[in-house]
C-alpha cells in the first residue's frame, strides 16, 4: 500500500496553548478514515494545521505527505499538491462571485500542475455534471461565495469544490453536521464519487450516521490532542452508544 500521509508525534499550539499533544496518524492511498472525538479535542486544529492555516506553532513532530515535508509549504501549495480541506465553518466572502472563485481555484491548481487553464465556457462544461451529482443548479455559482447560503448549501458548496478540485487527500471537517437526511445523502454521493485508488479521505464527524453512507476503513478517537483509540467502523457505533468519557489513552501506553 502506498502511504499518503504520515503524521508523527505532532505537537501544535495556538496563542501559547498546546492543542495537539503528540498526535500520530497514518493514511494510505485508497483508505477512508473517520476521526471522532469530543468538542474541543483538537479535530479542527489538526485539519487546519494540515491545510496550512497561519497562526499555529508546530513545536514537535512531523507531517509527511507523499514523501515531502508538508509543513514546509504555504496553504496554496498544499492545495496544489492535492490536499483539500472541507471547512467546518465555510467562510462568507461578499463581493466574490462563486463561479469566478471556483474557476480561479481550479485554474491555479491546473497551472501548478502544468495543465491548460479553462476559460469560462470550458469551465461551465466541466462543472455541469458535478452540479448535477450534488443536485445544485448554476444559480448557486452566480452568488457571492457562501453569502446567504443555508448551512446545508454551504456544505454542499464545499463538496462541489472538492469534486471540482479532485484532491488526493480530502479532509472533511464535519461536512455532515447540520444536514438533513437528503442533504447528507447528496453530500455522501459527492464524497463516494471521489473515493478511489490513489486517493484518501479523512472524515471528521460527530455522527455515526454519516458512516452509514460513507463506509470508513478506520475510525479514530481524538481526545485532548491525541489519537487515543483506533478501530474499524464498529468503533463508531460503540462510541455513539457509550460516549467518550470511558476512554483513556491506549496508544501512548502501547
Amino acid at each position: 500500500m502506498t502511504e499518503l500521509l504520515n503524521i508523527e508525534n505532532l505537537h501544535a499550539r495556538v496563542e501559547e496553548k498546546e492543542i495537539l499533544k503528540g498526535l500520530s496518524l497514518k493514511v494510505n492511498a485508497g483508505e477512508v478514515h473517520a476521526i471522532m472525538g469530543p468538542n474541543g479535542s483538537g479535530k479542527s486544529t489538526l485539519a487546519s494545521v494540515l491545510a496550512g492555516k497561519p497562526g499555529y506553532e508546530i513545536t514537535e513532530g512531523s507531517v509527511n505527505f507523499q514523501g515531502e515535508d508538508l509543513l514546509e509549504f504555504e496553504a496554496e501549495e498544499r492545495a496544489q499538491k492535492g490536499i483539500f480541506l472541507g471547512f467546518q465553518y465555510p467562510v462568507e466572502i461578499p463581493g466574490v462571485n462563486s463561479m469566478y472563485f471556483l474557476r480561479t481555484a481550479l485554474n491555479a491548481q491546473r497551472k501548478a500542475r502544468g495543465e491548460e487553464e479553462l476559460d469560462g465556457i470550458d469551465f461551465m462544461d466541466f462543472i455541469q455534471d458535478k452540479l448535477e451529482l450534488l443536485d445544485m443548479n448554476t444559480e448557486f455559482l452566480k452568488r457571492p461565495v457562501n453569502v446567504g447560503f443555508s448551512g446545508g448549501e454551504k456544505k454542499r458548496h464545499e463538496t462541489l469544490q472538492m469534486c471540482a478540485l479532485n484532491p488526493t487527500l480530502a479532509l472533511l471537517d464535519e461536512t455532515d453536521s447540520g444536514l438533513d437526511i437528503d442533504a447528507l445523502q447528496i453530500v455522501s454521493r459527492g464524497v463516494n464519487a471521489m473515493r478511489g485508488e490513489g486517493k484518501a479521505i479523512v472524515l471528521i464527524t460527530h455522527y455515526q450516521r454519516l458512516l452509514d453512507y460513507i463506509e470508513p476503513d478506520f475510525v479514530h478517537v481524538l481526545k485532548d490532542g491525541q489519537i487515543i483509540k483506533s478501530g474499524d467502523k464498529t468503533l463508531a457505533t460503540e462510541l455513539e452508544k457509550e460516549g467518550y468519557s470511558g476512554l483513556t489513552n491506549e496508544t501512548t501506553a502501547a
Binding site: G52, E74, A79, G95, A105, A108, Q109, A112
Partner: protein, 445 residues
C-alpha cells in the same frame, strides 16, 4: 478662530507660493473669446491673497498641498497624442467624445459626428454666447478660495454642454482630458445644463502620457433642471507625479436626480470636491466612488450637500483601498436647513487598508437644523479578512491573487451604480490591473 503664529506663518508661506506661481505664469493671456468676461486680474489678486489652501483650513486638514504649491509650473503648451492613447483612456467606447490635450480641444482626436439632436457642446473659449446669465455671473464672480481664484486667473479652457428640454439622450457623452506632462498648470472650467425632463450620461476621464509633474485644476458647474437626470462619472487616472484638484458644484431643481461617480486611481495628490445644492422638492443627489491609493499617493474625496427644501434625498457610498505608503481621505457633510423637513440622506465610507503603513482618514458629518429627518452616516476602516484569505489559499489560490480577489470584491459592486456597461468593464479592468501591480509590489516588499 484665533490665528496662531504657526498658522500665520503657514498662511504667509502659502501666499508667497501663490505669488511665485502667478509670477511664473505672468505671460498668461485669457482665451480670446473670454477676455471680456474673465476677471483675470482680480482673480490673480484673490489667488495671491488667499494663497494655496493649507491644513489650517478645516477642509484641508488631512491634505497637504505643499508639494503642489512648491512646484514651478508653466503655461500649457501644444501636445501630440495618438488615437490609441485616447482609446486606452476612454471609459465609454462609443460615446460622443471631446478630447482636450493639455487643456485645448483637439478636433482631430474628437468624435462628434454622432452628437444627438438636443445636445450642444463646445469648448468654453468659443461658447461664451451659450452661457446663461447665472453662468456668466459664476464666470465673473469673485472668490476667496485660492484654487478657484487660480482657476479663473489662469484659465486654459473647458467646455459648455447643454441638453435642451425634454430630451432623453441615449448616446453617452465623454470628455477626455489628457496631459503630456512638462510641469504644465492646466485650468479647466465647465458649465453643464440638463434641461427640464432631460436625461444624459456624461463621463470625464483624466489621463496622462507622462510621469512628469503637471496640474489639472478644474471647476465644474452643473445645473439639472426640473425632473432632469444626469449621470456624471469621473475617472481620474493621471500620471503618478500629477496633481489633480477638482470642484464639482451641482444644483438640483425639483424632481431632478444626480448620480455622481468618482474613480480615483492616479496622481500624486488628487482631491475631488462635490458641492451639491439639493434645491428642489423630491430632488436626489447620489454620489458613489472608490479610490485606489498606492505608495506616495494621496486621494481626497470630499462632499458637501446642502438640503434647503422639504422632501429631498441623498445617498453616498465611497470605498477606498489603500496600499502600502498610501493615504486616502473622505470628508462628507450633509447640511440640512431648518425648512428641509423629511430629508432622507445616508452616507457611508468604508476603507480597506492593505498594509500597516496604509492610512485612511474619514470624517463624515451631519449638520442638521430640521427636526423631522432621516439622516445617517457611517465609516469603517479595516484590513482584509484573514479567514477569507485562508479560505481562498486553501483552494490553491496564491496569496497575492487572493488579496486582489478580496479587494476587488470590496469595491466591485459599487460599479453597479454605473449606467454604462462599457464603463463598468473598463473600471473593473482598471481595478484589476491596479491590484495586480500593487499586490505584486506589496508581496515583494
Amino acid at each position: 478662530m484665533a490665528v496662531l503664529p504657526k498658522h500665520k506663518a503657514q498662511l504667509n508661506a502659502a501666499r508667497k507660493m501663490a505669488t511665485s506661481h502667478a509670477e511664473a505664469l505672468a505671460s498668461y493671456e485669457a482665451p480670446r473669446g473670454l477676455q471680456s468676461l474673465l476677471p483675470t486680474a482680480d482673480a490673480r489678486a484673490a489667488f495671491e491673497k488667499a494663497g494655496f489652501p493649507t491644513p489650517v483650513n478645516e477642509a484641508w486638514t488631512f491634505t497637504n498641498l505643499a508639494p503642489l504649491a512648491k512646484t514651478n509650473f508653466t503655461l500649457p503648451h501644444k501636445g501630440q497624442v495618438s488615437g490609441a492613447v485616447i482609446g486606452e483612456a476612454k471609459l465609454v467606447r462609443d460615446a460622443v467624445t471631446l478630447v482636450f490635450i493639455n487643456g485645448q480641444l483637439s478636433y482631430d482626436l474628437s468624435e462628434m459626428t454622432s452628437l444627438p439632436v438636443g445636445v450642444t457642446i463646445a469648448p468654453l473659449s468659443q461658447a461664451a454666447s451659450m452661457l446663461t446669465d447665472s453662468q456668466v455671473a459664476k464666470l465673473k464672480g469673485k472668490t476667496t478660495d485660492g484654487l478657484a481664484a487660480a482657476n479663473t486667473a489662469f484659465l486654459t479652457d473647458g467646455y459648455v454642454l447643454r441638453v435642451d428640454e425634454g430630451q432623453n439622450i441615449t448616446t453617452p457623452v465623454e470628455l477626455v482630458f489628457l496631459s503630456t506632462g512638462g510641469k504644465q498648470a492646466i485650468n479647466l472650467k465647465t458649465f453643464i445644463t440638463v434641461g427640464k425632463g432631460s436625461t444624459l450620461e456624461l463621463s470625464e476621464v483624466y489621463h496622462s502620457t507622462s510621469e512628469e509633474a503637471y496640474w489639472h485644476n478644474s471647476v465644474t458647474y452643473i445645473d439639472v433642471a426640473q425632473n432632469g437626470q444626469l449621470h456624471f462619472t469621473r475617472k481620474q487616472d493621471e500620471g503618478t507625479e500629477a496633481f489633480h484638484t477638482a470642484e464639482v458644484h451641482t444644483t438640483l431643481q425639483r424632481d431632478a436626480s444626480f448620480y455622481g461617480f468618482v474613480a480615483n486611481l492616479g496622481s500624486k495628490i488628487a482631491r475631488t470636491m462635490f458641492e451639491t445644492n439639493v434645491a428642489g422638492h423630491n430632488a436626489s443627489a447620489n454620489l458613489a466612488g472608490f479610490s485606489l491609493t498606492g505608495k506616495g499617493q494621496h486621494h481626497n474625496t470630499s462632499t458637501h450637500t446642502l438640503h434647503g427644501v422639504e422632501h429631498t434625498n441623498a445617498n453616498q457610498i465611497f470605498r477606498n483601498v489603500v496600499a502600502e505608503g498610501g493615504h486616502s481621505v473622505f470628508m462628507g457633510k450633509y447640511h440640512v436647513l431648518a425648512e428641509a423637513q423629511h430629508t432622507d440622506a445616508a452616507m457611508l465610507n468604508q476603507n480597506l487598508l492593505l498594509a500597516p503603513s496604509a492610512k485612511a482618514d474619514s470624517k463624515p458629518e451631519l449638520e442638521i437644523y430640521a427636526d423631522d429627518v432621516k439622516c445617517s452616516h457611517g465609516a469603517t476602516t479595516g484590513k482584509l479578512d484573514e479567514t477569507a484569505l485562508f479560505y481562498l489559499q486553501a483552494r490553491g489560490i496564491d496569496k497575492s491573487t487572493a488579496m486582489a480577489m478580496l479587494t476587488e470584491g470590496f469595491i466591485d459592486d459599487l460599479l453597479n451604480a454605473l449606467p454604462n456597461s462599457q464603463a463598468r468593464e473598463r473600471l473593473h479592468d482598471a481595478i484589476h490591473r491596479w491590484l495586480g501591480r500593487s499586490m505584486s509590489t506589496s508581496m515583494k516588499g
